[in-house]
């Protein structure tokens, strides 16, 4: 029983981690709390769903399609909403409010087009079989979720630490003016960061949509609250922290639902969030605040 719960928690936690990764990447590099991020999650899931329905795409086609579409939406959204604010060096509150307004408008717009009913991936989109060993059941979908998360996380780390683009992104995160002096095109680098984080959000949307097999426009909003908790618990802008906090939260939620009450599950994220802010405001794994000064 417990080991089965742990497996389920790990699966849920992987999607939280994947979702939070893109969110924390935006904050870590661009210094904005971009609430439109939740929309990338919804749009990713929806594009995958549309691909599955309209030309029978399977998960291996639909997942990258959803991710890329969400990445493109993220680039456009950031460019339209935040370019002006960035130029005016507006504070974090302005970008928070602008993206809050925008994301609510975007959800509504999406609801106009696809309705608010819960929609499902067609039968045969993924292999629904499962494997069992020593009493633990893991479905192929669950393995896919954990596997995809691991692969995407590894790719992101390689990209940030080992490539020229990664070097440019880290330079921008640390000192924008100095990055310009190196000949780095900041506008393009910002677009690349938006694309990457949009892709991560979109991929998380497809995988969560798959996990619960329920897709509707406001799924991103629900997820966003969790994402917020995860990146604050993990330390704003801290990629490793977001991963650990995401998995931790998933496991704790499943255990709470299993051993206490499924109604109590909702309280877990925010209880930890409040405790974190009381006792360790830089996040569980955050380094000293100086890093973000």
């Amino acid at each position: 029983m417990l080991s089965q719960q742990l497996v389920n928690g790990l699966v849920l936690g992987s999607t939280y981690a994947l979702f939070a990764l893109g969110f924390t990447l935006i904050f870590g590099v661009l210094r904005v709390i971009n609430l439109t991020y939740g929309f990338y999650f919804s749009i990713g899931a929806f594009v995958a769903l549309t691909a599955a329905r309209s030309f029978g795409a399977n998960i291996w086609v639909a997942l990258p399609l959803g991710a890329i579409a969400a990445g493109l939406v993220a680039v456009v959204a950031d460019w339209i909403l935040l370019t002006r604010l960035r130029r005016a060096k507006a504070g974090e509150l302005s970008s928070l409010m602008v993206t809050l307004g925008a994301v609510l408008a975007l959800y509504s717009l999406m609801a106009v087009f696809i309705g608010t009913d819960i929609q499902r991936f067609p039968f045969g989109f993924v292999d629904n079989s499962a494997i069992e060993f020593s009493g633990i059941r893991i479905s192929l979908v669950q393995m896919l979720i954990i596997g995809t998360t691991l692969v995407l996380v590894a790719l992101l780390f390689v990209l940030l630490q080992r490539t020229k683009l990664g070097l440019m992104i880290r330079a921008l995160a640390e000192n924008e003016d100095a990055a310009r002096l190196m000949g780095i095109n900041v506008g393009l680098t910002v677009a690349a960061v938006s694309f990457l984080s949009g892709m991560l959000g979109g991929a998380a949307g497809v995988l969560i949509g798959l996990n619960f097999n329920a897709i509707q426009p406001f799924m991103g909003e629900h997820m966003m609250l969790r994402g917020f908790a995860v990146i604050i618990i993990g330390g704003l802008g801290d990629i490793r922290g977001a991963l650990i906090a995401g998995v931790l939260l998933g496991v704790l939620e499943v255990l709470t639902a299993g051993y206490i009450s499924s109604n109590a599950k909702e309280a877990v994220a925010f209880t930890i969030l409040v405790l974190t802010l009381w006792f360790r405001p830089v996040g569980l794994f955050g380094r000293a605040q100086a890093k973000r000064a």
């Binding site: 070097l167 440019m168 003016d177 100095a178 990055a179 310009r180 002096l181 190196m182 000949g183 780095i184």
Partner: protein, 238 residues
């Protein structure tokens, strides 16, 4: 000698305040020109304007004969105008080697990149010893060397040095000026902003004195150094 950089009537400001009020200056190919002045005279503002970090409100900047007024900072860097900014601005969380990589991002190919890196490490042996160390953990003098090495990785046609000796121990100040002297002998074109007017005037072919955003005096280095007003105001009196 023809002018590599030609600045005419340059105005720069932040919001409503104008910090630089119509300056003219010229840097010849292979020359070392210095800009001296008190705190707040507009030296760093001028340097930020030349690097493209601040858009001029009036006037023009020409580089190799082409108008680059209002050009974006990353384009200016790619043209070969490389700045060592005030306060060094190294990427503190990255390693020394990564900082050098960032300086050499625009190198045309890996052979050229490797060549530049070798030259920089030859010039700054201390950096070679600390390649994998985090830049933020270096001493001030070492960070200054890293900032200079990083700029040299861009193979500058014009090197802008903003207060390279500020806040450094005397031994490092001496070393930094020795390196500037080396660069001068090798034919690097340099625009140097310094509070250490004495050392700057010794090395410069030509000097400008900036006061409250206006050039009040200019001429060959030794001539400026001998000017009684400069001696009293910037060289601690004679």
């Amino acid at each position: 000698m023809s002018a590599l950089l030609e600045v005419t009537g340059l105005h720069l400001g932040y919001g409503r305040t104008t910090a630089v009020k119509g300056i003219d200056l010229s840097v010849p190919v292979g020359g070392v020109v210095c800009l001296i002045g008190a705190n707040g005279a507009g030296k760093t503002t001028t340097m930020r304007g030349l690097a493209g970090l601040l858009k001029p409100t009036a006037g023009s900047i020409r580089f190799e004969g082409a108008d680059i007024t209002g050009t974006a900072a990353h384009r200016i860097a790619r043209l070969g105008i490389r700045q060592v900014p005030e306060g060094r601005q190294v990427f503190a969380e990255m390693t020394v080697d990564e900082n050098l990589h960032l300086g050499g991002l625009q190198a045309p190919d890996s052979a050229e990149f490797a060549k530049r890196r070798d030259l920089v490490l030859e010039r700054f042996p201390r950096l070679r010893e600390r390649l994998s160390q985090q830049a933020g953990l270096l001493s001030g003098g070492e960070q200054q060397m890293l900032a200079m090495g990083r700029a040299l990785m861009g193979a500058p046609r014009l090197l802008l040095l903003d207060e390279p000796s500020m806040g450094l121990a005397p031994l490092f100040v001496e070393e930094i000026f020795r390196i500037i002297g080396d660069l001068k002998r090798e034919g690097t074109t340099i625009l140097l902003v310094e509070q250490n007017a004495q050392a700057a005037l010794e090395i410069a072919d030509y000097a400008y004195v900036l006061e409250s955003g206006v050039i009040t005096l200019h001429g060959p280095g030794p001539e400026i150094a001998d000017n009684p007003r400069v001696a009293a105001a910037y060289l601690g009196g004679h």
